[in-house]
């Protein structure tokens, strides 16, 4: 029971964020830009829980996007997975009270994701107008995502802390 609870909650967070992103946030979009909730989840799990969990959460998030909106299964899964893994390197300098590091990491992840999508899905089709896409898609999405992060990150942090506290309690019981 104890072992299954964390994966279950994690998968649930990913699914809920995908649902919100594809339904509710579509009607809350500013200038047809919607925030990227799944990158917030992926990056958060990366620097909160380490490389392996960031990687798995990223893989799952990307796979859901691939199944619904991707042309190739595995493309977004790969990008999100690598982003989750790289975020895992920052676990050792992560402190729950500090909001600066999460904000920087999440915006950096979103920026890298935007650029990767541009390079692989737009530049490859000979659409080279990088500055337009930067100014109209990548940066607005980043700003909106950062705004949403301020709320969503707190929720994820609290869930994670509650889970960690529970794990510690049940671990100390056996000692």
């Amino acid at each position: 029971m104890r072992k299954i609870k964390r994966p279950l909650v994690t998968v649930l967070i990913v699914i809920i964020c995908f649902l919100l992103e594809s339904t509710v946030f579509q009607s809350l979009s500013f200038a047809s830009i919607t925030p990227n909730l799944l990158i917030v989840v992926t990056a958060s799990f990366g620097f909160m829980r380490g490389k392996r969990e960031g990687m798995l959460v990223g893989f799952l998030s990307g796979l859901i996007i691939d199944v619904f909106f991707g042309d190739l299964i595995g493309f977004y899964a790969l990008i999100y997975m690598v982003l989750g893994y790289v975020n895992g390197f920052f676990k050792r300098i992560f402190y729950p009270d500090d909001i600066k590091l999460p904000l920087i990491l999440i915006s950096a992840s979103d920026f890298v994701l935007g650029n990767a999508v541009f390079v692989f899905l737009f530049m490859m089709r000979s659409k080279f107008d990088y500055w337009y896409y930067l100014g109209h898609i990548i940066i607005p999405e980043l700003i909106y995502t950062v705004l949403v992060t301020l709320v969503l990150y707190q929720i994820i942090l609290h869930i994670n802390q509650a889970l960690e506290a529970e794990e510690k309690r049940s671990a100390s019981k056996f000692v």
């Binding site: 830009i33 380490g50 999405e141």
Partner: protein, 285 residues
């Protein structure tokens, strides 16, 4: 310390293994449809019902806010609509008469195809593309409702897009304003063919670009109707796409290009109609 080393190693290997899995999946989904099928089926029983649920709640709330419209407003609207009904009844009678005439003349000409009566199935939009780069959406009808790939999708009177992926109870529609979408079209008045190409840069302005319209002597004015062409391999002919809003001669002097205003409001799509016959079927007949 040693334990720590082990975990970093194993997560490195995990990354490598999963990355290879991703690449293999990409390759497979590029070649066959075998990977997508099971994944779509899983999605069908997990995520799609939840999307439908959220959508139902959204519509219920929408209805609720509409309930608060005051009686006076509704009365005024009713009066207006009544006048409109009268007006339309007269118009309809005229049209009916003309329709009989048209049918008679058609029989004389033995035109066996009228493009107005494609069979359609209604569907709700349950989710939109989560990213900001492309424009596609999910509808709540799938293989079980007779939807197949390459079926054309309309909303109101205009073309919305084409079905690109089908799950058991859901399917994905790529709209014509998507950056990767290209539709073979023609101008209704002159029957000149052109290509309607979706562009991300124009998506926010609610415009679509058309190109490769031959620069012949025909005069094309702003406001002319653009419909799907007869030569398209995937789009049924004669579906309205939009109206010409700007037109200019290209620098090569051989072709013309410009912008059209689509007949559909892509920002507020809620219900769409899927035409259940495809062009391939039509050509096979």
């Amino acid at each position: 310390m040693r334990k720590n080393n082990q975990t970093t190693f194993s997560s490195k290997y995990w990354l490598l293994i999963l990355a290879i899995v991703c690449v293999i999946l990409m390759g497979l989904s590029f070649v066959t449809d075998g990977v997508n099928g099971p994944l779509r089926a899983i999605a069908n029983y997990t995520i799609v019902p939840m999307q439908k649920g959220i959508n139902t709640i959204g519509m219920w709330m929408n209805d609720l806010t509409q309930n608060f419209e005051t009686l006076q407003e509704v009365r005024a609207e009713n009066k207006e609509l009544q006048e409109k009904v009268d007006e339309l009844t007269v118009q309809n009678n005229l049209l009916q008469q003309e329709k009989y005439e048209l049918e008679r003349l058609r029989e004389l000409y033995a035109l066996d195809q009228t493009y107005s009566d494609y069979k359609k199935v209604g569907a709700h939009v349950t989710a939109n593309d989560s990213g900001n780069w492309f424009s596609s959406f999910v509808i709540d009808k799938g293989k079980k409702d007779g939807i197949a790939e390459d079926m054309n999708v309309m909303a109101g009177a205009g073309l919305v897009g084409i079905v690109t992926e089908v799950g058991p109870n859901w399917s994905r529609v790529r709209s014509i304003i998507d950056d990767t979408s290209k539709v073979s079209a023609m101008l209704l008045s002159t029957s000149d063919n052109c290509i309607i190409a979706g562009d991300l840069a124009l998506m926010q302005d609610g415009k679509i670009r058309f190109e490769q319209l031959p620069n012949n002597d025909t005069v094309i004015e702003v406001g002319e109707q653009v419909v799907t062409s007869h030569i398209s391999s995937k789009y049924l002919p004669g579906i309205l796409i939009g109206y010409v809003s700007e037109i200019e001669v290209d620098s090569n002097n051989l072709t013309r290009s410009g912008y059209i205003t689509p007949a559909v409001d892509f920002q507020h799509l809620q219900e769409v109609l899927v035409i259940t016959s495809t062009k391939a079927e039509m050509l096979a007949e």
